[in-house]
């Protein structure tokens, strides 16, 4: 225990660097997934069959094992950042898409009817009424997606990708030596701490971005 703590102190700078890279990959993947997920969700919300198909495709992505998915992207995108970000975005898609659809469907039809009655156009209604009301649910989807891919991102190191996975693989390479466990646990701890920080950030974001009128 004591040796692990002193290891963390010695390794702090490097861990911070890895964590930053890890967070960057996750954030970029989320951005892609959010644009795609919310966009597709909005587009298919009124078409039951398209919505079902979109959910099925996103569900398929999530079912494919992470190492296989990243591996499949390597021939096309090479090693490193690119396959990692694309794979993570594909995983994050399902929770975001599912919650976008659920959120938009949970908006009271009477409210939408009122907005129409007030003369709001489709675009205005979507931006000023539907999306703000669905936002807490969409945000919850983003939150689930984040926790999911923070962990998966550790695999990136297997294809020379960035992030805290690197130390896990360093530990793997040093099996037999006394420091192996420190490396692995340091990497895992970093991932968990990062997940908790992301989660806390979401709680804050939810408070700031949710209309006070619908805050629980």
């Amino acid at each position: 225990m004591a040796s692990f703590i002193s290891y963390l102190e010695r390794r702090a700078d490097h861990l911070l660097e890895l964590a930053l890279a890890h967070a960057t990959v996750v954030a970029l993947a989320l951005l892609v997934a959010a644009v795609l997920g919310i966009g597709v969700g909005v587009a298919v919300r009124a078409h039951e069959r398209s919505a079902e198909a979109a959910l099925a495709v996103a569900g398929t992505f999530l079912t494919v094992p992470s190492y296989a998915l990243i591996g499949l992207l390597v021939p096309a995108l090479g090693l490193g950042y690119a396959p990692t970000i694309v794979a993570l975005a594909m995983y994050a898609l399902l929770p975001i898409l599912r919650n976008t659809l659920a959120g938009l469907r949970s908006v009271d039809p009477a409210v939408v009817e009122c907005a129409r009655g007030l003369g709001m156009g489709d675009r205005e209604r979507l931006l000023r009424v539907e999306l703000p009301l669905a936002w807490p649910v969409i945000l919850a989807g983003l939150r689930v997606a984040t926790v999911l891919i923070v962990g998966i991102a550790a695999i990136a190191a297997a294809v020379n990708g960035p992030g805290l996975g690197e130390d896990i693989f360093v530990g793997l390479a040093r099996i037999g030596s006394a420091s192996a466990l420190n490396y692995v646990l340091g990497g895992m701890l970093g991932v968990v701490v990062l997940a908790i920080l992301f989660d806390a950030a979401y709680a804050g974001l939810a408070r700031i971005t949710t209309s006070r009128g619908i805050r629980g």
Binding site: T60, L62, T63, V64, P65, S66, Y67, A68, L69, G71, L72, V74, P75, V147, L148, V150, G151, I152, A153, A154, I155, A158, V159, L164, G165, I168, F169, G171, L172, I175, A180, L181, V184, L185, G187, M188, V191, V192, A195, I196
Partner: protein
């Protein structure tokens, strides 16, 4: 039409398999690729992978469902939120970490890898079992007890059947997670299709890499499809 929709996934997966076979067949394979991409080797990898995922899933169902039941009984119910919170954090932990820690602490090989898989995939089943049991309408339990059912009878005849859909969803998640984690077993000498993917990456042979990755994806999707069918069959009628 409904049947067609049901069969859509296996049909697509078979199609992908066919395309893969044709593509690999038309490639000019060098000796390294030939060593990886022959029927016997691939079959061995597939069997290893399936064994690992299936064994882990069975152990997890038995362990996590029992634990979930124990943790939702009146005496222990207070622990439930804490356990669910731990399960949620556990989900954020990278599965590769579980495997490597397992290898360092217990050594490498099939049972050790199995142990790591079980530890990691127990969380969704445990959580779903607890959530499933907790969401059973209190008035139904009240009615069962009011009719004179013993606590055990209430559990077996009312609570568990009514939580089956949620528990099964957890089991299916565990199965998918296990197939995925078993892919990483290659890093701790656990075998499976991860070996094929890993060789492809290390040796810079895209044909090997793509074959391994596509086979893994096909296996995961098919198993998920089978589990989905089992879920529909096992769900109590009337729900």
């Amino acid at each position: 039409m409904a049947l067609l929709r049901r069969l859509a996934l296996p049909l697509i997966v078979s199609g992908v398999g066919l395309v893969l076979a044709v593509w690999v067949g038309t490639q000019e394979l060098d000796s390294i690729e030939q060593r990886q991409l022959n029927g016997a080797t691939l079959l061995e990898k597939i069997v290893e992978h399936l064994e690992l995922a299936a064994a882990a899933s069975v152990v997890v169902v038995v362990l996590a469902v029992s634990l979930g039941i124990v943790l939702t009984r009146p005496g222990t119910r207070r622990l439930a939120p804490a356990v669910i919170a731990v399960a949620n954090v556990g989900q954020a932990t990278p599965s590769i970490g579980f495997l490597v820690v397992g290898a360092i602490v217990a050594g490498i090989g099939f049972d050790r890898v199995l142990l790591a898989l079980v530890a990691y995939s127990a969380l969704p089943v445990l959580r779903n079992t607890m959530v499933g049991l907790q969401q059973v309408d209190r008035s139904l339990i009240e009615a069962a007890r009011g009719l004179g059912m013993s606590p055990t009878a209430t559990l077996l005849r009312v609570e568990l059947p009514l939580s089956v859909p949620v528990i099964l969803a957890g089991v299916r998640t565990a199965l998918v997670v296990n197939v995925g984690t078993a892919t990483l077993a290659t890093f701790v000498d656990g075998g499976g299709l991860g070996d094929t993917i890993n060789s492809g990456i290390r040796l810079g042979r895209d044909t090997v890499l793509v074959t391994g990755a596509v086979l893994t994806a096909m296996m995961a999707l098919l198993l998920d499809w089978v589990a989905r069918g089992a879920e529909d069959l096992l769900r109590p009628r009337g729900l």
